[in-house]
């Protein structure tokens, strides 16, 4: 049976320009443990028909003790701007956590996390859980410019973080792939990446050359978020065939080996 989607907001912080952290009561009991980093929450930003569809935001941090979830988001269009209006005490309509998250593999020792832009938030819960299961965490994050940096300090609590910016205004100038040197990659048993498609495509190519297996979290426009509209598909190669997988239900995280980019 479905959990009640109406949950209370506990905190709504401004992390930077156009950047917010929203913390609310978890729709599911987190102590039961059936959630994963890389899953997403599907949030109605308002009950108005002006925003008919929910917005997918990644689970960024799970506070199991308080049974609270945090998402971190950047305002993008009218919907995320509308979301900024909600205040502690308000009730919002949240489905999830939904989808397939990042698998944590027992045999791995050293992990490499790669994030770009609004793909960075899910890496925080991932880093936390990887560390908790005894693995080392190395993180590379990329942003357009210094003003868009997010969660760098928080991620640094779990391992070394390399920051890249397109314009060199913070960290090193360049794309995340610039940082994925043979040396850095030789230290990784597995990688986990989340970010815009062009970044993921470049990461997939680079890491195939570097011979490191990994997971990609894909970003597609969603209708339902629960697998019934077939809106959010991405091409995958599976059982010897090219097919379209629903990123909301079979993803958003996929084994990089099956993901096909145009």
């Amino acid at each position: 049976m479905a959990p009640m989607p109406d949950v209370e907001v506990f905190a709504h912080e401004t992390l930077g320009k156009d950047l917010y952290a929203l913390t609310f009561a978890s729709p599911i009991d987190l102590r039961a443990g059936n959630y994963q980093p890389g899953q997403f929450l599907h949030i109605r930003v308002s009950q108005s028909f002006d925003f008919l569809l929910r917005r997918p935001l990644s689970l960024c941090y799970a506070d199991v003790d308080q049974n609270r979830l945090t998402v971190v988001y950047r305002t993008q269009g009218a919907g995320t701007r509308r979301l900024t209006a909600c205040k502690p005490g308000d009730v919002i309509d949240v489905l999830g956590p939904l989808g397939q998250g990042f698998p944590i593999r027992a045999q791995d020792h050293r992990t490499l996390l790669i994030g770009g832009g609004v793909g960075v938030p899910p890496l925080l819960e991932l880093a936390k859980q990887l560390r908790a299961s005894g693995k080392t965490v190395q993180t590379v994050v990329g942003f357009q410019t210094a003003g868009q940096l997010m969660l760098v300090e928080e991620l640094a609590a779990y391992g070394e973080v390399t920051v890249m910016t397109d314009d060199g205004s913070a960290g090193t100038r360049g794309l995340v792939t610039t940082a994925l040197t043979a040396e850095l990659c030789s230290l990784a048993d597995r990688y986990y990446a989340c970010g815009p498609s062009p970044m993921l495509k470049a990461v997939q190519q680079t890491m195939r050359v570097r011979n490191v297996p990994g997971y990609l979290s894909l970003e597609e426009r969603m209708g339902c978020g629960i697998g019934i509209c077939v809106g959010c598909v991405h091409a995958v190669y599976r059982d010897g065939q090219l097919t379209n997988a629903k990123t909301c239900r079979e993803g958003p995280v996929f084994d990089e080996r099956e993901v096909v980019f145009a």
């Binding site: 028909f49 008919l52 969603m222 019934i228 959010c232 090219l242």
Partner: protein, 314 residues
């Protein structure tokens, strides 16, 4: 008039089927049911209409396939589905566990032969209660829509399907026509057992930053509350010109919307986009529909079918 304990009957008869209530999910907005079954017991539904099924597997259109618009959404899924064989093997048997749940299979294709072939295969299935002929999908090139906008072509399609179908055949009409009544009458005369209307309205939205249509395929189908007035008017006009039952579709979000379609002349309704907004939409809408009847002293919901028609004082 307003006795909260009142027993109300919200069941309706549609073709040979008895529906415990007039509400069913619309094709393409519920997949084949499994996903939503984790949210509630599908047995509460009046019936279920599954995703459009074609002869062979289809991968559908390029992404993005969905976009939000004012009080609505556009989609250009393009009939992605595993093909009728796999639908019959992998999808439909699952639904047979819901004993009293009629299963309506939406059939789509490119040429009449495809449609006939799919219908013939479905005709042997014990898991099917009725066929919904989708001659109105705006999202496939050379797809069903040409049959959906020409009364003669629609009629030949209906005749060809009726010749092989063992189940009742409901024809799903497109609103993208000059004269919906003419289409409806042509289908009835060709032997259709029922009509469902409306499918989506052709629309487009442009991504101003990329300076191109937002959807991967350019145009798409508009659905949701935005199109409800268009659908109500078509149901209202068609009702007076046919004697087969009409299923109302378009923008239903609440029980009041169901009542509105029934008053316009629909015998039953389908709920599409609302399932995306809220996975629990159908059971909520069913409850609200019953509640409306209680509040208004309506003992049998069948009383209000067509109530807003002039012949009924509307």
């Amino acid at each position: 008039m307003n006795d909260p304990q009142m027993d109300v009957d919200i069941s309706v008869n549609l073709l040979s089927l008895h529906l415990k209530n007039p509400v069913m999910p619309a094709s393409g907005c519920f997949s084949f049911g499994k996903e939503v079954a984790s949210f509630y017991d599908l047995g509460v539904l009046g019936a279920i209409v599954v995703k459009a099924t074609t002869l062979d597997e289809r991968l559908g259109n390029p992404t993005p396939r969905v976009a939000e618009t004012a009080a609505g959404m556009l989609n250009s899924i393009g009939l992605q589905n595993p093909g009728v064989k796999r639908v019959m093997q992998e999808e439909l048997p699952y639904l047979s566990r819901y004993r009293s749940l009629p299963v309506i299979v939406n059939v789509a294709g490119t040429a009449i032969d495809d449609y006939v072939d799919v219908t013939r295969q479905l005709s042997s299935s014990p898991d099917v209660s009725a066929i919904e002929l989708n001659i109105s999908c705006p999202n496939v090139k050379c797809g069903g829509i040409q049959f959906g906008s020409d009364p003669q072509m629609a009629a030949s399609m209906v005749r060809a399907i009726k010749a092989v179908a063992t189940h009742p055949v409901i024809v799903k009409l497109s609103p993208n026509v000059t004269d919906i009544v003419e289409m409806a009458v042509a289908c009835e005369e060709a032997g259709a057992d029922g009509l469902s209307l409306i499918n989506t309205v052709i629309g487009m939205t442009i991504d101003l930053e990329r300076r191109r249509p937002l959807l991967g395929s350019g145009a798409g189908g508009l659905s949701g509350p935005a199109i409800k007035p268009i659908a109500i008017r078509m149901v209202y006009d068609v009702f007076r010109h046919v004697s087969i039952p009409v299923i109302g579709i378009g923008g239903i979000m609440t029980g009041a919307d169901v009542i509105e379609f029934l008053m316009a002349g629909a015998t039953a309704v389908q709920v599409g986009t609302a399932n995306f907004v809220d996975p629990l939409a159908c059971p909520r809408i069913i409850d609200e529909t019953r509640e409306w009847c209680v509040q208004h002293g309506v003992r049998s919901i069948r009383e209000i079918i067509g109530a807003a028609q002039p012949a009924n004082g509307g």
